[in-house]
């Protein structure tokens, strides 16, 4: 069964049609990279998938459960309590981390599992420390986000998302706010997660990383998916001229 099933999403902001007709499915354990020029709708797609944005039409299905169904070309969302459950299936890591500045690293990670998922605090804290250790920053558990480097903050943000035990993690340009050295730190974390078979959908401009880590690459342009497939195919030998031009420019 697919963890995520997006069918025929359309999304406009006023007159601006941002997503024109997009369908994506993601299987368990799959790592999918989304590439595309600025303004092509990558973030909007992720925001629709994570329900930060409501889509105009199309359906959204997590683990076989309907978050939104298409009824006569209009997306109809499931009742609130269903959405609350579905919300637990995924996590999102932002480009600019969005850690809560008034919480320590540990509290950033444990607060939602304890107060949203109502899990046992001690157990959550133990898990959080293990996650921090995995990220190589267990000594920073009582720091405030402002006392950390960008790369460390992003690792905390990843740990915060993982602590909710999601089945699928979305990343929206997780390294764009970081300098090259810190970028490679975060990419290493993502590589480790991929090795552990964490299901991930990653919007990125890191072509090399996308080639090495993803099972599938999706190329978006002007609200459409213009090409998708194995990274060797899409990145090294694309059919579409747009993709070729974009990759040439980035390289």
């Amino acid at each position: 069964m697919n963890l995520l099933e997006i069918k025929n999403i359309k999304k406009s902001f006023g007159d601006l049609e941002v997503l024109k007709d997009i369908s994506i499915s993601v299987a368990e354990g799959e790592v999918v990279s989304i590439l595309g020029p600025s303004g092509s709708g990558k973030s909007t797609l992720l925001r629709c998938a994570t329900m930060l944005e409501t889509m105009d039409s199309g359906s959204l299905i997590y683990c076989g459960e309907n978050a939104a169904t298409d009824v006569n070309g209009k997306s109809v969302y499931a009742p609130k309590k269903d959405l609350k459950r579905i919300q637990n299936y995924f996590g999102l890591v932002f480009q600019n981390f969005n850690l809560f500045p008034h919480y320590t690293v540990l509290k950033n990670i444990t607060d939602a599992p304890v107060h949203v998922q109502k899990r046992d605090k001690e157990e959550v804290e133990k898990e959080a420390m293990a996650l921090l250790k995995q990220m190589g920053i267990e000594d920073k558990f009582d720091y405030y986000p402002s006392q950390l480097s960008g790369g460390q903050q992003q690792r905390v943000a990843i740990a915060r998302a993982l602590a909710m035990n999601p089945k699928l993690l979305f990343f929206d340009e997780p390294t764009s706010a970081l300098d090259p050295e810190l970028t490679s730190e975060i990419l290493r974390v993502l590589r480790d997660l991929a090795a552990e078979k964490m299901t991930m959908v990653i919007v990125t401009h890191e072509i090399e990383f996308a080639r090495n880590v993803s099972d599938r690459v999706i190329f978006m342009d002007e609200g459409y998916i213009v090409e998708q497939g194995a990274p060797e195919k899409v990145i090294d030998n694309p059919d579409n001229d747009r993709v070729r031009a974009f990759l040439a420019k980035i390289k």
């Binding site: 809560f100 008034h102 607060d111 107060h115 405030y144 915060r160």
Partner: protein, 248 residues
Amino acid sequence: MKKRPVIAVFVFAALLVPALFASCSGISGSDVNWFMGVVYQLSNGMWASLLLFGCTILFSMPLGLLVCFARRSRFKVIELITKFYISIMRGTPLMLQLLVVYFAPYYIFKISLSSEYRTYAAIIGFALNYAAYFAEIYRSGIEAVPKGHHEAAKVLGYSKSQTFIKIVFPQMVRHTLPPVTNEIITLVKDTSLAFAIAYIDMFKIAKELSAQQSNIMPLFVAGLFYYIFNFVVSFVMGKIEKRAKRYE
């Protein structure tokens, strides 16, 4: 602890001002009794000033939060009414507002006024006025919380109220401490406006003493009270601010 000497200097300077005036107007050491007398009489009014101050803070700060919510309401009518309320409160003299609150029951409902109502009217007038200012301060504090924090909270499954209480409110408090301190300091001095409805506060007593004795000194002593009061306010708020800043 290092700050102690600085505080001492400020208090000393504050005490020096009336002392200098005293010496200029040729008051000798035997007038210490006179000074204590003034202080004693003012202290009666000081309780009235403190009461007005305390009650205004107690009511206007939470009320301000309600006004702030109303101002941010997604219902246009509520937003417009609140905007109008805030503009009246900020756009007309507080003294006039006090008079309106004080005399409204009489002129509108023909209710005769008990003398106790004076105190209530002062508190109501001040609370309504300061709530408007606090509401706008809170609003700027809430809007200073990055949109990304709301989004992160939403994806983590926090409910709207959890998001406000856990994520937005603490950051709002942090952002608004300096302007809130300003408002509180202004309020300390504004309590003297209550004389408009013959509320007997410290400043009113000082003015009366001053008129009786044809001497400006009682007013300066009153000024000293306000100064010390505000000094304490600044000190306490500074401590709170420092605590709130620890995560920066």
